[in-house]
């Protein structure tokens, strides 16, 4: 009985020693600097992959759930912060778009100034519009102190838009071409130099028309209409628009041309007032009084 116990103990020790030797040999064999997996490693990894994948997904979700619960406040704070940042960025983006439009308008106005060096143009911003439908006027942020006086023509990058009809020290009221109060503008067509007069649409719909044209006049659709320099305005070749349609009168003697204005009178932001060169930009105290 005793000898059997000794034999079992001996066998156990032998197994342990052999096991240690085998593990040592495996460690030695796998502890190399070679790249790649041994066939056994590869097989083992492949075998474990599905289970590993499922476990990993499940554990990630599990961990995330609890981590999320723990970090809820910090996540919420971060979310609020990000929302605020997005709001600020959207606001900044809107401002930048607005600046871009303003910049583009001013650049175009500057272009007119550069190509007409004989003109002195005061650039200004539209700060208000008429509060009554029937008046077609806008208010600009430059006035007497900038050299602006009544009856000066007002343009934007598209062409003529109106004239100054009221001035304060720092603002001016501009009556648009479409206002019946504006009266008539003397014009010529660019293509044929045919003279005529342009007034606002009698229906008050914001359009322009060239009137009292003899039926034999050499005027066609698509002709460009510019100022002739005659009359109150005194400046030639300021663009107004293109002839969109020609309408014959019922008696067949006269016709009128419907003009599509280059300027969008409902969307004016920056305008230029053509001031006469002899006007002193800085008014004297007596002038202000």
């Amino acid at each position: 009985m005793k000898s059997k116990k000794i034999s079992n103990a001996k066998r156990g020790r032998t197994f342990i020693i052999i096991g240690l030797i085998v593990i040592t040999i495996i460690i030695r064999i796998t502890n190399t600097n070679s790249i790649g997996l041994a066939p056994v490693e590869s097989f083992f990894k492949e075998m474990l992959y599905p289970a590993q994948s499922v476990t990993s997904t499940a554990s990630n979700g599990f961990v995330s759930f609890f981590k999320g619960l723990v970090d809820y406040k910090s996540v919420k704070d971060e979310n609020d912060k990000l929302k605020a940042e997005i709001g600020e960025l959207q606001s900044t983006n809107s401002e930048l778009i607005q600046y871009r439009v303003e910049n583009e308008n001013l650049r175009l106005l500057l272009g007119i100034q550069e190509s007409n060096t004989d003109l002195v143009i005061v650039n200004s911003e539209v700060i208000g519009r008429s509060i009554k439908d029937w008046y077609k006027t806008v208010t600009i942020n430059k006035g007497f102190s900038s050299g602006i006086r009544e009856n000066m023509p007002v343009i934007n990058y598209s062409g003529l838009i109106g004239k100054v009809t009221g001035v304060t020290n720092s603002t001016a009221e501009v009556t648009l071409l479409t206002d019946p109060k504006y009266g008539a503008i003397t014009v010529v067509t660019t293509e044929t130099g045919y003279p005529g007069i342009v007034i606002g649409d009698e229906k008050g719909l914001g359009g322009l028309q060239m009137i009292q044209i003899p039926s034999t006049a050499n005027i066609m659709e698509g002709y460009e209409v510019v100022t002739s320099g005659l009359g109150d305005l005194g400046y030639k070749n300021i663009k107004i628009g293109k002839i969109k349609k020609i309408v014959n009168s019922s008696d067949g003697l006269m016709k009128r041309a419907i003009i599509e204005a280059y300027a969008d009178f409902d969307d004016l932001h920056f305008v230029g007032v053509i001031i006469k060169e002899e006007i002193i930009l800085t008014p004297t105290e007596n002038e202000i009084k």
Binding site: I127, G128, R129, S130, I131, K132, D133, W134, Y135, T139, G166, E173, P180, K181, E202, K203, G204, L205, G206, D266
Partner: protein, 166 residues
């Protein structure tokens, strides 16, 4: 305290004019502008005494005339007439029910346009009475009605507690 209320009224009218000339002038309703002063004055007239309503209408009209800078006195006269008519014919209006005051704002707007048309014609500015003006009688009145849905409840909230002492 009353002077303070008058001052607040003056500030409100000035702000209304600025908003009308800037924000709402770009926000037209089928080509029609909003007449925010008319809405405020008509809405207020339900909650204040006839005398105060007429004085406020006159002051607001005068401020509007000065702001426009043309035909000074026209809005002064018209707002007083409109408020007088509102006060005369709307004594039985239930102020808590928004429908009737809104109908009165709408009819006041139409009345305002017709009377302004008459003044323009008498003043030799008949050329303003074109097709657009005719269209805007309806469009402008509808626009006023829509915005009155916001302004009238605000007037109600602010002024109904002062009823009888204003």
């Amino acid at each position: 305290m009353k002077i303070f209320r008058h001052f607040i009224f003056f500030i409100v009218i000035c702000l209304a004019l600025i908003i009308e000339a800037t924000f709402f002038s770009s926000l037209k309703f089928f080509g029609a502008n909003l007449n925010i002063i008319l809405i405020i004055i008509v809405s207020m007239s339900f909650f204040i005494s006839s005398r105060t309503a007429l004085i406020y209408a006159g002051v607001a009209g005068l401020l509007e005339d000065i702001f426009i800078g043309a035909m000074i006195g026209s809005n002064f006269l018209l707002l007083i007439i409109v408020v007088y008519l509102v006060r005369t014919y709307s004594s039985r209006v239930i102020r808590e029910n928004i429908i009737t005051p809104l109908i009165i704002v709408f009819t006041s707007s139409i009345t305002y346009y017709f009377l302004m048309g008459a003044i323009l014609f008498i003043a030799g500015k008949g050329y303003y009475l074109n097709l657009m003006y005719m269209h805007n009688i309806l469009n402008g009145s509808i626009y006023n009605l829509i915005i009155a849905l916001i302004i009238y409840p605000m007037c109600y909230l602010v002024l109904h507690k002062y009823k009888g002492e204003y």
